[in-house]
Each structure stands twice: as structure tokens, then as C-alpha cells.
Symmetry: C2
Subunit: 407 residues, 2 copies
């Protein structure tokens, strides 16, 4: 079976994702599409609008055959760790190709950038250090460093933030298993972080924004999603009373910060540069999450980096466990969130032919990354009414989503 | 100025408390009545139904002249530490007498018990150890040990739980400053933990129960309270949206337990005997605070002891800071929650004539017990809407309640 992997968040699953899966299948000639997806919390340090099980179901109903979970510790990280966790898991799971969306849609441009970077690694590192020392944030320093090593015009431009993630996939593939084929397809929606819906293909950001503002799926947002996704989103909100967003967790974060001393706060992953003092001060005044973030963020400490740190604080990831967990390379297991019949067949093959520990239930294995997963679930579901909180927590220990037929 | 101290919680202030203050003033011949009161959390490990500022105001409007705060760390403790903190603070603040309510109403009976206990201390200790080793709870072992040393009939019976707290005040006074006069007055309501209201004098337990069940002050509950207390309670609920009770904090406790590993849980004050494992297991299933408590409590680990431990977990009191804090004897400061004109005059005298550091605002002093106080406030107010949360937290740093005239 020819297989193709994709790295996804599906927050929520929309037409662009559908198109990406369809195109990736075509380009790779794959019989089976394997998605590795962030769980309850996402790369930018946000809670997903609905839980991983519903998002996995949406994916299976719209083109994915097997959905794996990117462990929480890898999911809520900057692009290097994020892509390391995702790409290595896919490769260990036996994929032949990995296909990502990009503005350029030209894999050669990424390969050129990779080769240029190999030639200028030292210059890049020196420039990066200089800009960091000047007090710039990591993304900004990195952008300036990329600029300084002057990519050839045929290489993808890494000073454009949207190309960074794709590049980090390519880098992971080339350094970890160059026999796997990197593929890219042109993104239909040109702006990843577009804030407004302008047609049937819209950015996830614009879709979420409209959903949260309206507190419901509008006609416009529904048009941006393929079959059954609006129903899944509606069902989720009707059943559990909310779509998840940071503002709803703010009281928990405030409670946590204000009942911990600075020394304890300092133990959480990402809590660096004296951030704990800023947190304590800001929390005594902030009345919303946004208000709080604006009080805390600095030139060095960007919004996204801060959101990630706040997610690790909310979930309780401490520095030691993060250090130990991120040293595990490749990630020690591949957890299955869902599959259809094709996915099941692939899995049967992969269990025989690869070394990967595929697990369908976390109790099958004792591992600190799985403990963290259940803490992430506890934090994520803490907004729900009590009975739902408990039942969703138990969902963690049940079988994956299984679609008996392919869609 | 002749002064008399009382140890109180006023949760809420009722006719029995009014009567106690009146009688204590009469018996002691005091010009000034000084109440030392638990803050936001109480001796039995519960949140107070309304905050300490409103309860201090209720006291000042009904017979108290000066209200001091028993530090959180002393307030949420078994009777020994509780009475140590309260009695020593009153004595250091210069009181001539301390008056407590009791069923017997006979101070000689308490003094006889004190002298009998002095004679049989060793036998008592041996019996206590034996019963603890048999697996009984502390209160039960203590009751059995008291029984075994056979008090003379004229001594107050310490195997009756209601006499224990009064006895612990007497013991503190006699061992710390025997020149201070212990006084007791007969309690009008015979049963401290009565669950039903039977007249204008009712137990705080029965009043709270009816208030919480009805979600409002009924005609019956109003009759149990003196002037202005019902208005204070109503205003509180209308302004902040709630009266405080454990059930409303359950989601925070569940969130906290489920996002911490056992090793971290073990660091909290009172988390002994492997309780952390029981907590984690119970929290995966419990849907209410009561449900949770029933799953966790054991013969050794009584409901009240467990509630205290849960309060320390909610507030984040760790074992080290508790150990260090409880070693401070007498407590390092007396914080003023409120006063009237008489209280102000007394304070002027006491600041000159005693060694006590009276503080009106916590920022006047750097002390770990005060840090803990602000964490207790943060936990307590975490139920309120965001803007109120922040404004009530700031209330901690403002001036005490001041009544310009005596009532």
C-alpha cells in the first residue's frame, strides 16, 4: 500500500483541508492517507475549538484513512520540535511520502532552500545569535538571519513566516529519512492568518473567529466546511455547552498563577527570563485573557510563545518532564485517534513491517508522555459540566474512532 | 480600658453570636470587645459563606469593637493550632479576659479538666498513641483517650466534642499567660451542629444549610440574625453572584488534582498517608464535591481533616511553608479587619503598651503568612466574575472596615 502522511491540526476541518488531502492523495499516488494531528491543544498554544476525537472523526469523514495523535509535548512547541515530532512519527509509521501545503507549491524551491541553508549554516547561526542578543524575538531574529544569508531567487523565501513550517518538514525528512518523498501542494487560500471569510476556501483563523463571535455556525462559515463537519461542531456545542477558546480558561489560569509563588511558577516549561514575576503582576489586574496577554508580552516574548507557555502552565508541564520528553527521538509510540477500513488494513501491515509501537489506548503503555496527555485532557475538559468532564476524561481510555466504511 | 477577647468565625453572624458578645461584655466588665476571626476559610476547612470584610462589618455592627484576622495558616487547622494562633494573638494584643461559649457555661469545670489533664498527661498520651495505632482517627482516638483517664464528675467532659475547643482555649491561656482571665458563658443553642432551625437562636450550620438550599434568605433564616446582617448577606450575593460553598469550588479542585502528578500533590500541607493516590483515583470519577469526599474519606481520614487538606490544596499551602509558619509563636502580627471608635481608641493604647505589630494593610509588612493570605483570597474569589475578582483581590490591600460611631 502506498502511503502519504500529512501534518494537521484541523481546527476546524475546512474545505482547504479537504482539498489538501485530495491533492496529496493524487500527487503521491497514495492508497492510504495518514494524518498526524495535534490533540486538544495546538501548536500556537491554544485549545482546539472542539476535542481531538471529534476532529479526528471530521478528518476520517473527509479523506483521511488513519489519524494519529501528535503527543501534547510535541504539539505545543515551536516549529522545530513540532515538525520533529510529527515527521518522525509519520516516518516511523512507514509513510512513503509527506505532503504539506505551501504558498509556493514548488518542492524544488524548498529543496533549494535546504541546500542553501546547509551551505550557510554557520553564517545563519552567527546572525541569529546577534539578533537574539539585540533583544529580538526568536521569529524576528530568525527572519533577519535568513535575510542576511541571501537565498537564491529560485529558493523558497524563509523570511516569509508561512514558509518556515514547510521548510522545517523538509529539513526533518531530509535529515531523518531522505528516502521518504517530500511533496508540497499550492495552498488555495493565500493567507494563512486571513481574518475574514471571502469564499468557500477560508483560513481556519477566520472561520473560528466568526464562529466564536456569532456563538454559532453562520451560513458563511458552513460554506467553508465539507460534509458533516458543521454537524459535528454543532453537536459538540449542544452537548458540552461550548467551543473551546482561551478566554474561557482565563479564570483557571488566573487562579493558578495567583495561588502559586514565583519559585513554583518558574518550574513550568517555557517560564524563562523572569516571566513568572510579570505573570503575577499582570494577573492582579487583568480581567480577560487578552488583557492579560497584552500586559505580559514583550518584544522578546511574542504572543504565540507566551500562549504556548500559558498552555504548559494550564496543563502543568514542568521543565524536567519537558526536557526528558523532548529527548525521546523518535517519539516512543504512535497513538491512534481513529481509522477507517483502509486505515485498519494499513495498520495491520505497519504493525508487522515497522518497529513502531502503535497504541489504541493509553493504558496499553506506561509512559510520561501519556501521563501528560491525560493531564492535557483534564485541563481541556475542565470547562465542561461535571458529568461531561468525567465522561470525556474516560473517553481518553476507550477505543479510537472507527469508521466501518471508507467515505 | 478593660478588654475582652472572643474567638469567632461568624459564618454567618447570628443571634447566638450577638448574645455571646453581649454576655461576654457583661461578664468581663469590658469596655472593648475584641474578636479574632477566621478569614475567607474556616476551621473546618470550608470557604466562608461571604468574605471576611463583610463578616467583619456584621460583627462591628453587632457588638464587636475591633476585629482581628486569624491568619489563614492558623485558621484552617485542628483545634490545637487554631486556638494557639487565636488565643496568643488576643493575649499579645493586650486583652484582660477571653470569653468563649460552651454547653456547660462553667469555667471551673474547664479548670478542673485542665488540672486533671496535667496530672494524667502521660496516661493520656499513651492511650492516644495506642488508639491512633489501632487505626482510629485523631478525634476518635482522643475521645477514647479522654475516656480512659476518667475525669472527675465536676470537670467538663472532654470526650464530648463540643467541649474540646473551649478546653483548648483554656489550655492556651493557662500555659501562655495565666494572668489573662478565662471566661465561659452558657450557649443558648444547645447543639452546635444542629441541622434545623428551631427558633431565633439557631446553629450557623442550620442557617447556612437553609440559605444555600433556598438560594436566598428565607423569613426563618432572617429571624436568626440581628440587624443589618441579612442586608449584608443579600448585598453580597447580589453584587458577586454567589454565597461561597465547597461545591462551587469543586471544578477548580478537580482541575488541580488532575493536572498534577502524585509527587507534586504530596507537597501540600496535610497530604499524608498516601492520600495523593486516593485523590487522583477519586477525581477521575467524582462529579460533585460530596461525591468526591465520600470516595476519599477513610476511618483515619475524617471529613473535616480531609476538608482542611482540600482547602490547603486549593490555596496551595505547601508542607514547608506550613511547618515554618506554624513555628511562629506567637503569630508575628495582628492584622486588623475592622474597628469602630472604641476599637480605634483601644488600638491607640495597645500600639503603645504592647509589643504587637498591628497592621492595617498587608503591604506594611513582608511576611510569608501574608503571602499565603493573598493566595487564600485569590482562591476564595476565583468564583466571582472577572472584574469583581480583581477588585476584591485589591480590597486585600486597602484600609480596614471603619465604623465612625459605635453601634
Amino acid at each position: 500500500m502506498r502511503s502519504c502522511g500529512v501534518v494537521v491540526e484541523y481546527n476546524p476541518f475546512h474545505n482547504g483541508h479537504y482539498y489538501h488531502l485530495e491533492q496529496a492523495r493524487e500527487h503521491s499516488g497514495a492508497d492510504v492517507m495518514i494524518a498526524i494531528m495535534s490533540g486538544h491543544f495546538l501548536q500556537r498554544g491554544e485549545p482546539a475549538i472542539m476535542d481531538k476525537w471529534h476532529r479526528a472523526e471530521a478528518a476520517l469523514k473527509n479523506g483521511a484513512d488513519l489519524v494519529l495523535e501528535l503527543p501534547f509535548l510535541y504539539a505545543v512547541q515551536h516549529s522545530d520540535y513540532f515538525s520533529q515530532g510529527a515527521v518522525q512519527t509519520l516516518i516511523e509509521a512507514g509513510v512513503d511520502a509527506i505532503c504539506f501545503g505551501s504558498e509556493s507549491g514548488d518542492i524544488d524551491a524548498f529543496m533549494k532552500a535546504y541546500s542553501h541553508m546547509n551551505d550557510y549554516q554557520e553564517e545563519y547561526n552567527t546572525a541569529l545569535r546577534t539578533h537574539l542578543n539585540e533583544g529580538h524575538s526568536f521569529p524576528e531574529s530568525s527572519r533577519l538571519a535568513y535575510e542576511s544569508i541571501q537565498f537564491p531567487s529560485e529558493a523558497v523565501d524563509l523570511s516569509q513566516p508561512n514558509n518556515i513550517l514547510g521548510y522545517s518538514y523538509v529539513k526533518q525528512i531530509m535529515s531523518y529519512a531522505p528516502s521518504v518523498t517530500p511533496l508540497t501542494i499550492h495552498r488555495k487560500s493565500s493567507h494563512y492568518h486571513d481574518e475574514h471569510i471571502t469564499g468557500p476556501i477560508a483560513s481556519a483563523t477566520s472561520i473560528r473567529r466568526q464562529m466564536i463571535e456569532a456563538g454559532a455556525l453562520t451560513k458563511e462559515t458552513k460554506q467553508t466546511m465539507p460534509a458533516e463537519v458543521p454537524d459535528l461542531l454543532d453537536d459538540y456545542k449542544n452537548t458540552y455547552g461550548c467551543w473551546h477558546q482561551w478566554e474561557a480558561y482565563f479564570h483557571l489560569l488566573q487562579y493558578k498563577v495567583l495561588t502559586m509563588d514565583e519559585e513554583t511558577l518558574r518550574c513550568f516549561h517555557g517560564m524563562d527570563e523572569g516571566l513568572e514575576y510579570r505573570l503575577k503582576r499582570a494577573m492582579k489586574k487583568a480581567v480577560t485573557f487578552e488583557d492579560f496577554m497584552n500586559r505580559v508580552k514583550t518584544k522578546r516574548y511574542t504572543w504565540t510563545r507566551l500562549q504556548r507557555t500559558m498552555t504548559h502552565l494550564l496543563v502543568g508541564t514542568d521543565k524536567d518532564e519537558a526536557r526528558r520528553g523532548l529527548r525521546e527521538t523518535p517519539p516512543p509510540y504512535a497513538r491512534i485517534l481513529g481509522m477507517n477500513e483502509t486505515g485498519r488494513k494499513y495498520l495491520k501491515w505497519a504493525k508487522k513491517e515497522t518497529e513502531t509501537s502503535f497504541i489504541t489506548q493509553p493504558q496499553a503503555m506506561q509512559h510520561p508522555l501519556l501521563d501528560l496527555e491525560s493531564r492535557a485532557a483534564a485541563a481541556y475538559y475542565s470547562l465542561l459540566p461535571a458529568a461531561d468532564r468525567v465522561s470525556r476524561l474516560n473517553r481518553e481510555y476507550e477505543a479510537p474512532v472507527i469508521l466501518s466504511t471508507n467515505m
